[in-house]
Every structure is written in structure tokens, then in C-alpha cells.
Symmetry: C2
Subunit: 450 residues, 2 copies
Amino acid sequence: MSLFKVVSGKYLRFKLGLTPQQNLFYGFLTYVSMGTLLLCIPWFHKSSVAFIDNFFIATSAVSTTGLATVSVLDSYNFFGQFIILVLIQLGGIGYLTFTTFMILSTTRKMTRWHKNILKTEFTLPKTIEIKDFLKSVIFFTLAMEIIGTILYFIAFKKLELNFFDTLWNALFHSVSAFCTAGFSLFSNGFESFSDDFLVNTTTSLLAIAGSLGFIVVTDFVLSIKKKDHHLSFTTKIILVGSAVLLLFGFMFFFFFEPVIKNLTGAKRMWAAFFQSMSAMTTVGFNTVDFGAFVMPMLLVTIFLMYIGASPSGTAGGMKITTLTAVIAIMKSRLRNTQRITFFGRIIPYERLFVATSSFIFYTSLIALGTFLLSFLEDFHLEDLLFEVSSALGTVGLSTGITGDLGTWGKLVIIALMFIGRLGVLTFGLAIWAKHHNNPKNHPIRDDIAV
Amino acid sequence: MSLFKVVSGKYLRFKLGLTPQQNLFYGFLTYVSMGTLLLCIPWFHKSSVAFIDNFFIATSAVSTTGLATVSVLDSYNFFGQFIILVLIQLGGIGYLTFTTFMILSTTRKMTRWHKNILKTEFTLPKTIEIKDFLKSVIFFTLAMEIIGTILYFIAFKKLELNFFDTLWNALFHSVSAFCTAGFSLFSNGFESFSDDFLVNTTTSLLAIAGSLGFIVVTDFVLSIKKKDHHLSFTTKIILVGSAVLLLFGFMFFFFFEPVIKNLTGAKRMWAAFFQSMSAMTTVGFNTVDFGAFVMPMLLVTIFLMYIGASPSGTAGGMKITTLTAVIAIMKSRLRNTQRITFFGRIIPYERLFVATSSFIFYTSLIALGTFLLSFLEDFHLEDLLFEVSSALGTVGLSTGITGDLGTWGKLVIIALMFIGRLGVLTFGLAIWAKHHNNPKNHPIRDDIAV
Ligand SMILES: [K+]
Ligand SMILES: [K+]
């Protein structure tokens, strides 16, 4: 028996002995490690980049956050940028979507174990066929990113770059937007395009589609096309919730943010809509400077980043479904009713328990992250809370302090981005859950994904 | 039938038609209104005080918070100060303890309706006899306040005031400490007594006893005196929780707060202990200036104020029992266990539901209050969050912005102090709960008070 067989056999047994949560954990950890090592190779640099910054950028890319301690444009050459784009794509499409697709296309076998992991990552309804689902996700992703690239290519023509640079910018921003990563190759993000109709609509389309995710988008499209197809309860909640949050942010930014109130006509509308969309979908692009926002508007943005979007997409945050369950609990408590309902439906206790745990964990982690940063950094609380909410929600917006963080501060943000992408509960279970391969240990999942 | 009988008959029917929560609400509202009106009479002023400030001080006194927009010493004469002390005592001992005592001592009758209200305010175990309980509470309160007055009288001798002023100061601070109100007649609180052994110990004794409440203190004393008396589960949790929180604050302040680290020997120990005790018991006195604290230590203080102490005492905050249940939920979630335990006991689901609702409501209200203030005031987030946590937790500590708040900002803090004293859930139920006099509507209360 060769050494290779011993090692690979041991690896396989190690892997199969892990819980789904632990597998996701090690999967993302592998991506981040490999990405960091690759980005450390000087061949990919335009100018020298410290290890901690390569580590930061790799984690930010895999977690689709988009926070950056150094400028991607000025620090990495084309090949470096390409590696970052691959990391974004891998992180966005998900470790397991990718590996399961690879296994499917080579062996056509799909183990029950893999299905469990996939369901942990996507909180899928039980009825969906994993194989068809994966094919469709890959197709959906590629189709959206190609459409995005074409639209951006047209929009970026006015920059008067050569054909290749225009195409590269278009592709990079398309993938970055659809994966809700928000990495940009422009020094001030999309601030030069704040009233560009095509850039505003393309980015919103990609980010909203990516943040809602394949299942919700398909459900929505089918319900428009086919008369006999009815929206699922979860899809309804996610669509209504997203619309309400978008409008909430839009109204506040439009009426109360001086930076946006100073703009005129369509420009003011677009600016209010784009920043609200950016925080809600957690894409994290910006067309105005958040560092200039007044404090109550920073709090509105923090709230949107804190909630995030749909649990079936690439977005981070506590998720709209969790917020829904939390609101239902508050309503029932105030009305003193025994059954907890939303939109006239009774929400099962197990679901409520998952939602309240998510709320408690997510809120505690934001408090803990902010507390740690307050020891390490000398910024005001609003800046720290904004940065932490942005990292844990994998949003990538900042009041401008990211580059000024010390090494320990960067490590805190790296940890938050990683936990945010994995999901707070998944991370906790990967680290602390004791048992494995015991079906009893997987939380019961019902009709509504939380 | 005289007009008086008609009116009083209507009032009685109105009162009996109310839920216990609504009765507490109107009771405290009556105290605040009467207090405000009395304090507005110029006879009680040393210098002119605006209506909003009289309203603020009256609410702060009834809610036993201790935040002040004007100096009590410089604005009110002896009679004004006496009114404030009466409001503190009424607020501290509770609207219903007082009215029920009055009813008992005149009619010797105790209706089931009154018992329900009392249990709503104090979350009493079912077994306690209301009548004996009330007598004992009054006795306990008077005894503690007399002891406190004597000890303070000795401590305040060094101020070299005349006999009456020394006695008045001793009485005022004793009542203020035991009711965890934290109002002071000294311009800089207890800062001149930062290393005075007697003031430190007397204040701590009164505030800890008051914040734990009669039931916990009695249970504790009995368990020391009598060998066959065992501490109840709730008392155990509250005592251990208080000790842990006290130590938590002490360690952070002792090792990380520059203002306290600069002190030497016993003075440093006392300063760290006193500020931790002050935030945890929500008494809100201070021997050092919180305005000079570094940001992470403000966050530690906010955390202590946010939790507060025992549900059976005069302290505000989310309560230690709620924190306990929340920690139990997090632990069970991470370990993937079905039953939720703490100290080896299974916590019933109804109790967990009350605890998570409290957590959600309390946290949301702090966020909402801070958001509202951020629109109205131009301070940094750490100052606003500190002020809001202090008001809702009825603590009374401040980084020094209280006096600089605008009228609308003062109104927000007034509302928070009022809701904080009433209890967030009680307030919500008083306003929104639809049904009344239906036993099903009172949440099931079990062995652990939350
Ligand atoms: K992002
Ligand atoms: K107080």
C-alpha cells in the first residue's frame, strides 16, 4: 500500500467523519488559505502587499464581502485580479455547489452525505432534486454574468479604455455584482457612474438576482409565466420583505441624507435607491461616499446590512426570514396570543426557535466584534459598528476606516467576514457541536427557510 | 345621587376594566403627572426651572433612574428636594406595594384582582402570601433606609455641615441608594468620597440589597441562618449572576480603564468595584467621571446597564434571569441538544419564550431609542447609546450629555425611563393588549422568574 493511498484514505475517513457544518468550515478555510498563498506570490503584484493584506483580500473575496485594506487596482496586476475574481466566483457559487457539480459531472453519483451538506448550505426545500438544482444554478449564474458583462461593456465604453481593459472591467464587475461581492477596479467604486442609467440598472439587476438566489428568482419567474404556478410562502415573504426594506432605506436616504438631498432630480432618486439596494442585497457597491453620511443614516445603513436579504442567495446578514419570525413573535407577545402567525400562517415552534437563536447569535456577535475592535482601534463607535456590521453581513461598505486598521483589527474583521459567509449558526455548530453523522443532530427543517 | 358618586363610580369601573399592565401604566403615569405639577410650583425652586426639566426630574425620580437635566441641589429648595425624595420612594417601593398596603391597612381585604397586579409587577412565586409579603417589604425598606441614614450620617460628618443638613443629606442618599435611584445632592455625585470606606460600603450594601429585592435577600439570609432552608433556584441564579457580572465589570475597570489604573492601592480597588456595582445594580452613583472613560470601558458599562440585576428588586435592565435563559438557549443550540438546561435544570419552553421576547424587545427598544436620539442630537454614537441604555435600564449614569439635550431629546429619554421602570413587556401589553380580565392572557409563570 503506497503512502499516497494511506494519506488519501485517512483524509477520506476524516472528511466523512465530519458534520456538514464542519465540512463547509474546512471547505471555505481551504479556499481562503489557497487564495492567500496565491496572492502572496510577488508575480501577481503591481506593488508590494503585506501578508495580512493578502490574507484580508483573499478572505474578503471568498466571503464575497468586498472590504479591502489595499486597492485591488493598484496592488494586483491582471493575474492577481483574475485570482481574486476566481475566489469571488468560488465563494459566491458556494464551496459545495462547486464540488458537488464536479463530482456529478465525473461520477454521476450523489451520496446522501453530500445532499445533507448542500441542504445545510442552502436551506433547500426537501422536494428539490439536487442534481437538477445544481445544473440550473450553474446555468443561471453563467447566464446572468454574461448578460451583466455585455451591459457593463456598453456602459464602460465612455471610459475610453482599450477593448481588452473594457471587457475585463465589464466581466470583473459583473461577477462581483452577481456574487454580491462588491469588489471594484475603480478607485472610488461606482461614484463616477452615480447618474448612469445603465450602470445603476445593471448593478441592481445582478445584485438583486444574486442576493435573492436561484430558487426565489425561479419561483418568481414561473409564477409570472405560468398561471397554475403559485409563489411559495417563503418566496412571498422574501420578495415582500426585500421590497419593504428597499423602500425603507430609499425613503430615509432620499429625505434625510444631506449628501443625497443636495443632488437633483433623477440623480437624487438613483443615489437613494442604489445605496439602499447596495446595503440590502449586501453587494456593497456605492455611488456616493458613505463616509460623508450623517449618523442616523449610518444607523439606517447598519440596520439594512444587519438584516441582509434572502437565505437562498449569496447575501449575508441575519436574513429577512429571521426578521419575519422575530416580528411575528413580537406581535404575538404584544397581543397575548398563543399561536404565532405571519401573513395568516402559523409558524411552527421549531422554526421560531431557529429564528430567535439566529437573532441572539447574530446580535451578540456584532456586539462582541465591536467590543474587540474598540480595544484595538481609536475610531468612534458609529464607524466601528458600521465596519463590523458590514463584515459580518458580508456587505463591504465602509465609512473609510478599513485601510487604517491595525493588524489585530484586520484579523477581527477577517474572522467576522469568514463567520458571516459561513453563517453564524453553521460556524458555531462546526466548532462546538460534538456528535456527527447523527441525523437527529440536524435541526428539523420545515416549509419556511430561516 | 351626587356628582361625586357618579364620577367615583365611573372611575372604579374604568379601573376594574383595566388589565394589570394597564393599571401599572396609569399608576406610574399618575405619579409622574402629580410629581411634575408639584415640581412646577415656584415655591419649591431655588432658581427658575423649565417645565420640561421638572417633567424630566419627576419621571427620573419615579422611575428611580437618577438622570438629571438640572442640578437638584441648585434648582430645588428643601421642600422641592423632599418632593423628589417622596417620588423616589414611591417609585422604588412600587405603585402597587404602596396602594395595596394602604388598602390592607384600612380594609383588611385583598382582592384577587390586586394580587394579579402585584404578581405582574414583582413576578412573585405563586406560593407567597401577598399580605405578609407587603408588610415585610415595608419593614425591610424602612429598616435598610434607617441603617443607611445612620451610616451616611457618620460618613458625612467630615463635610462639616450643620446637624440638619447632615441628616438630610444622609436620609436623601440612603433612600436614593436603596431605591437604586442614584439622585445626589452633591454637585459631582460621590466623587469626593471615592476612597471613603464607609460611603463605598454603605452605598454598595444599600444598592445591592435594593436591586436584589426583598425575596432574594430573605431567601439568602434564611439559607445562612437555618440549616434546613435551601436557596431557591431563582435566588441561586440571581446571586451567582450578580457576582459574575460584578466581577466582570471589576476586572475590566481595574485592568483596562486608564482613569482607574492611575489610582493607587485601595482607591483603585474601590473605584473599579464601585463603578461596576453602580452599573450592575442600576443605582447609578459614581465616584469617578464616566465622561473620561475610554470607549471599550463605556461598552462594558453599557453591557452591565443593559443586563441590570434581579427581577424582584428595584433595578431596571433586561434582568439576569433573562440573560441566563438566553445563554442556555445559545449553549443548547451550539451543542445541538433538544432540552434546554441551566445549572442542570431543564428550563420550560414558556419561560424561554418569555426570555427571548424580553431580549428581542429590550434590544430593539435600545436600538430604536438610539436611532431617534441620533436624529435629534449631535453627539457620537457611544454617548447616545450610553445615555439610552442608562435611561431604559433606569441606571442614571451618563457621559455628561443629559443637560445638553434638546427638548425632543429630553422627551425621548423621559419615555425610555418610564418604559424602563414599567418594564418593556408590561408597557407593550398595557398599550397593545386587547383583552382584559381574562386569566388566559396572563403569561404562565413558572418556578423561575424572568
Ligand atoms: K459584498
Ligand atoms: K438609578
